[in-house]
């Protein structure tokens, strides 16, 4: 099982969560990330692709090319079964992390 590094703010978990909603391509992922976090999470755009490729090489997501009218073709990503399990584990781990840190920060 691939371990997501929550302590360093790894964007992998967020990307997995977004891709659990639907298949998306890179630019769309960034736009959704901004929209769904009210622009609180705003990645430097180029850093998205190393993150996507890393998740793909870990087998958590899979990409496919799709032709687009009047634009370069796009690479769409979807969650794999391993990615779904990683998302479940990562979400639980994140909630434990937040609960633990809240326990300190709220005192």
């Amino acid at each position: 099982m691939t371990e997501l590094r929550l302590d360093r703010g790894d964007t992998g978990l967020l990307l997995l969560a977004l891709l659990a909603q639907r298949e998306m391509y890179g630019y769309e992922l960034l736009a959704e990330l901004r929209r769904q976090t009210d622009a609180v999470v705003d990645l430097p755009e180029g850093t998205l692709y190393p993150a996507l490729r890393r998740l793909e090489r870990q087998g958590l997501i899979a990409g496919r090319w799709q032709a687009v009218d009047n634009a370069p073709r796009r690479r769409y990503y979807r969650l794999t079964p391993s990615g779904e399990r990683a998302l479940v584990d990562g979400r639980a781990a994140w909630r434990r992390w937040v609960a633990a840190t809240d326990g300190i920060l709220d005192r």
Binding site: Y25, G26, Y27, P44, E45, G46, T47, L48, Y49, P50, A51, R53, R54, R57, N70, A71, P72, R73, R74, R75
Partner: protein, 425 residues
């Protein structure tokens, strides 16, 4: 919405800059290129639809995408293990196009190629003329050096300051070796590669600012152990080869494996009816061990220089055989138990340069077959001399020095006087 030129070219150039700083598997490179370009086009189209001019939209798309070198490194890390990405991946981003290289970089690079060729040639030459362990060590250290020089050259061509540093270490080693060759030959041998390296180093000094500019974009603070490792690889041949060749090869016999006994027999004799003085040199020896490998005492396909085989020499402290003493008989090396021959007589007095400088002129010699000797067999060789028959006064008995020279590796030497046997090991 697809951008037209020159906007498209500007977006493509940004993608190229990112990829030139990344080290990606060839199979993925075009995919990544296409994906990043598609993103920039989307970002540009979004800007245009938001009311920006095409140029402004392109500028914003490029700016928001991020700094190429940083993204290149991140992409490298995404495709390779952390260890790989932090070492070779950091050290070796894509190389610069040849037409952008300063002449001094091209000169250094060319000389490094020459160095690689020279190291390979020397290692082959030494590899086939040395005993097995020596040969192996020489070849392995040459492989290390070639690897180091190739890494240094790769770093140089990829505008890395560590590459320039490692390349200069290699050139400096060439200069030092050239000077050592010149000095050791008494000024008779000039190393062309050493001269070329000197000229290029001088050129480097003169064009240092150009080189600094060349490495402006170099990764800051590459891992020091790796850089030192590259320099160590570069120097390995220069350091290892002399050390290895100066040490005994464990597959070969050592002086401890040879039991040698020399005897000088002095007394009256007759020759052609005349009373003469007779002088006999007898050398007996046996080997505790000939070689750990099959095939005799010195598993060498070719010998290094003066001696082709093991060699026995005898010389006298008197001005010599040709004057006061005449050689009347010699028994070439033979196996005492079986009577079979184990060597041959030298084709004349050994060349003076083959003898120790302290030896008198006119020694005589036997070579021994390197493939013949067997451990614990008893071998013998002898020479018999008489004094010149027409000499009226007694000729002083000389001392004899007997020397066994093992190829070019080691020797055993003993001086023996009349009637006194001397053992040497």
């Amino acid at each position: 919405m697809i951008p037209e030129e020159p906007v498209a070219a500007r977006l493509r150039a940004h993608v190229d800059a990112i990829l030139s700083a990344a080290h990606l598997p060839a199979a993925d490179r075009d995919d990544v290129r296409e994906e990043l370009y598609a993103h920039l086009v989307d970002a540009w189209a979004s800007g245009v639809q938001g009311g920006l001019s095409t140029d402004e939209a392109a500028a914003r798309a490029v700016r928001d995408f991020g700094e190429p070198r940083r993204l290149g490194r991140q992409l490298t890390g995404a495709f390779h293990s952390r260890l790989w990405a932090s070492t070779i991946g950091v050290l070796l981003p894509a190389r610069a196009e040849p037409e952008t290289r300063p002449a001094i970089v091209t000169a250094i690079s060319a000389l490094l190629l020459v160095l690689i060729g020279l190291v390979a040639l020397v290692s082959v030459a030494l590899g086939v003329t040395q005993p097995p362990v020596h040969a192996l060590a020489v070849v392995v250290s040459a492989v290390f050096t070639i690897t180091g020089v190739r890494l240094a050259r790769a770093g140089l061509l990829r505008q890395q300051s560590w590459g320039v540093g490692a390349a200069l270490v290699a050139l400096t080693a060439m200069v030092v070796e050239g000077m050592a060759t010149w000095v050791s030959s008494g000024g008779h041998t000039i190393s062309l590669s050493g001269i070329a390296a000197t000229l290029v180093l001088l050129g480097t000094w003169a064009r240092w600012a150009e080189l600094r500019k060349w490495t402006t974009g170099s990764f800051k603070g590459p891992p020091r152990p790796q850089v030192l490792g590259v320099c160590a690889l570069v120097l390995s041949s220069w350091v290892v080869t002399p050390i290895v060749l100066g040490a005994p090869d464990p597959t070969q016999p050592s002086p401890d494996d040879l039991h040698l006994e020399a005897t000088l027999r002095c007394g009256p004799g007759t020759f052609d009816g005349a009373d003469v003085q007779q002088l006999g040199v007898v050398v007996d020896w046996d080997w505790e061990r000939t070689s750990v490998l099959a095939g005799g005492i010195a598993n060498l396909p070719i010998a290094g220089a003066t001696y082709v085989d093991g060699l026995f020499l005898a010389a006298f402290d008197d001005p010599l055989v040709s004057n006061a003493w005449v050689l009347i008989h010699n028994q070439i090396p033979f196996d005492v138990e079986t009577g079979s021959e184990a060597g041959w007589q030298g084709s004349g007095p050994p060349a003076q340069e083959a003898l120790p400088s302290s030896w008198p002129q006119g020694g005589i010699d036997y070579a021994i077959d390197w493939f013949t000797p067997q451990p614990h067999h008893h071998y013998r060789a002898s020479w018999t001399f008489i004094s010149q028959p027409n000499t009226e006064s007694p000729t002083p008995w000389p001392d004899a020095t007997v020397r066994y020279q093992h190829v070019n590796q080691w020797s055993v030497e003993a001086t023996v006087s009349c009637g006194k046997a001397l053992s040497g090991r």
